[in-house]
């Protein structure tokens, strides 16, 4: 657990390995797995499950028009305040208040280069060398890497998402309290959880809020995928709790669900003093979210009638097909995602390491996935799929993945 005490710079970068980071796969050759290969290469359209396919799910129709308009506006849109254009923040505050049910102050909001930008700023505003931070395990890979780079001490709290009959996220609340007692002054988690797609129950959200306030802990809640809720999901916004944490930053953004990743836009809102810190830091990290790109946010939560509902239904259909394929494989554990577009099955014992299997999938099946070790110290036998893909191609690719599991499983 003690990742560091003011580490030296080489150590710090050694901890930032990006060999398996989503999107970087093509930088890393797969020749080294040739000796492990069983059977032939499988035919079929390659699918990169490491991120969503914006060609299968294109951005809303207004995006291109808005960025063109921004360029025409010129200086006023190019040079916004570091926290982002005031008029855009005001518009978003209203829409996000409607969505979450919380009161949102546009002056306690910052626009960032992607939600990744918001996450870095939020964490770096809360922890420095030696500070303790609690994070859920599993959770988004950067939730591990950002605190490690900052020299913070990471206290993982188990998310027992795949226990039989589980309907909440399965956060170990006793473990969370123990981390707070042991000195963690920050708790960072994603809801819906990335990589598993599970959402936190009302009871879990209320308990997190109560514990945070009892121990004076700042909570950073990454809700990037919270719009993509499937039928039957009862989503709870921590920011809208009657006793929400006194110190709270909520992160959202139109990156993935709306296929606007290419614009690098994120939004964080919450406790004013934290947003002020994030802005001070943004001033030296990237100055501001791209001025022209900011304008694209005007299309967010203002999509054409039915656009979002259609997008959710399409993702739910893909989810259902992929989950059914995986459930047909003996020894694969998978929980049905409640929101977002990630699927995180745990594989049966294989004759190869998890990292090699991921490379073999790429080399033999034309399928890119992200290994569980990016998200967890426990669930290293998991692999993550972003199933925001062409439906037919995703199903065909999952068929190949299942065939690969059959080839390499230890009990075959």
């Amino acid at each position: 657990m003690d990742l560091t005490e003011t580490p030296d710079i080489a150590d710090r970068f050694a901890r930032l390995a990006t060999d398996h980071a989503p999107g970087q796969e093509n930088r890393h050759p797969v020749d080294d797995v040739a000796r492990l290969m069983r059977g032939e290469t499988m035919a079929g359209r390659p699918v990169d499950f490491s991120h969503g396919d914006v060609d299968a799910f294109p951005p809303p129709p207004d995006a291109a028009r808005l960025v063109g308009e921004a360029i025409t506006i010129g200086g006023a849109q190019a040079y916004t305040e570091y926290r982002g254009a005031g008029a855009i923040r005001e518009t978003l505050a209203g829409r996000l208040a409607t969505f979450t049910g919380a009161r949102i102050d546009p002056e306690a909001m910052i626009l960032t280069p992607g939600t990744q930008g918001a996450l870095f700023l939020a964490v770096a505003s809360c922890v420095g060398p030696g500070d303790a931070i609690a994070i859920a395990d599993p959770d988004y890979f950067a939730n591990w890497k950002i605190p490690a780079f900052l020299g913070a001490r990471i206290m993982p709290v188990t998310l027992d998402y795949d226990a039989p009959g589980r309907s909440d996220a399965g956060l170990d609340l006793a473990g969370l309290e123990a981390a707070f007692r042991a000195g963690a002054k920050t708790f960072l988690f994603s809801n819906p959880n990335n990589p598993t797609g599970v959402t936190f129950s009302g009871a879990e959200i209320t308990a997190i809020a109560a514990l945070a306030n009892r121990f004076g802990v700042t909570v950073i809640c990454d809700q990037l995928y919270s719009r993509l809720q499937y039928r039957g999901t009862d989503f709870h916004h921590l920011c809208a709790e009657p006793d929400a944490p006194d110190s709270l930053v909520t992160i959202m953004g139109p990156s993935k669900t709306e296929s606007l990743s290419g614009f690098r836009l994120g939004v964080a809102f919450g406790t004013r003093s934290l947003i002020e810190r994030m802005e001070k830091l943004q001033a030296i990290v990237s100055l501001r979210a791209g001025g022209y790109a900011q304008r694209v946010l005007l299309s967010w939560f203002a999509e054409p009638e039915g656009w979002m509902a259609g997008r959710i239904a399409a993702h739910e259909a893909i989810r259902d097909d992929l989950v059914a394929q995986l459930r047909d494989m003996a020894g694969v554990r998978v929980r049905t995602p409640q929101a977002g577009s990630y699927l995180f099955p745990e594989l049966p014992a294989l004759d190869t390491s998890s990292g090699d299997f991921v490379r073999l999938l790429r080399a033999q099946a034309g399928v890119i996935v992200t290994p569980g070790s990016e998200f967890s110290r426990r669930k290293t036998a998991g692999i993550r799929f972003n199933y925001s893909q062409d439906h037919a191609a995703a199903v065909a690719a999952m068929t190949r993945v299942c065939a690969m599991i059959a080839r390499y499983r230890s009990d075959r």
Copy 2:
């Protein structure tokens, strides 16, 4: 000089004050200077010299078309490698090699969200808590703030740019050597220097390279404004030196000179291991420069015939007029910028503090400038102008600035 030893987080943010940071002025009221005011408010079109006016100098004609094209391309442009699209890096490597005279490897290059992004990544890849870094004084405000935030020890090296008869930048080479002897393993400087617009002579560049190699120092050279060279300027690219530093990152970008700031684009190239570190860090700070925006870089160094020459001539004409106005004021020291669009006059003794005078300029003269304290521990009587403005408006604004100096000077 000892800014810190692994400071606690509140200290760290206290050091990041952005009250006077360029672009943030409108967040800070000027009511508090009412009691100091002498004379009436001056009429005239307000001018914000804290940054360039992209309405006066619009982006090259291709920019909007390229970003539209990028959106049409879709996923391949939205999700590039973290270091940026390979094909774009290859194109840029060729053009930057032609411009600088250096060999440039596209695999040792990274695209970043603005040059600010490149600067943060480069510095954070070299120094951590307790590490020493040498920086020129004066230099860009973030050159002070980034190392301070990272908990590094800053060793300022005097830039005696305004000594009578000076034609080089005036870097104190003995002071630089002393900093290296005292343990600085990184040297960060901008060429042309921001805020003064002076450029480093061939002898200075050669000496920096030799000292860096003798002491095993990494050099980060910010050349953001190096394309905007005025007649008679003999610019020297450190990266093209026969004995260039073994460990070197050069930062450029199309932000200001080309009025492409609104896209947030920067480029860094140099020593491969450093670029690798920068990419690892970018993976957790912002993932990548906006995918669609990256494509705008294809218009960089490929502007229409005469476009850049016309832009330089227009800036030179503004520079000459503003310098002449300042030279007419007794007690104002100003050196003529050799490149870039910054002007950094040092004012005579005033009856107000420098910070109050900057606020008075805003309140009474409709002029926004950046105080010298953002750039220097020595030259706090300086004020910085970005004169990339409408020519007539800039001259009229400078007339008001001169009248304000006359009102508030101690020897009036």
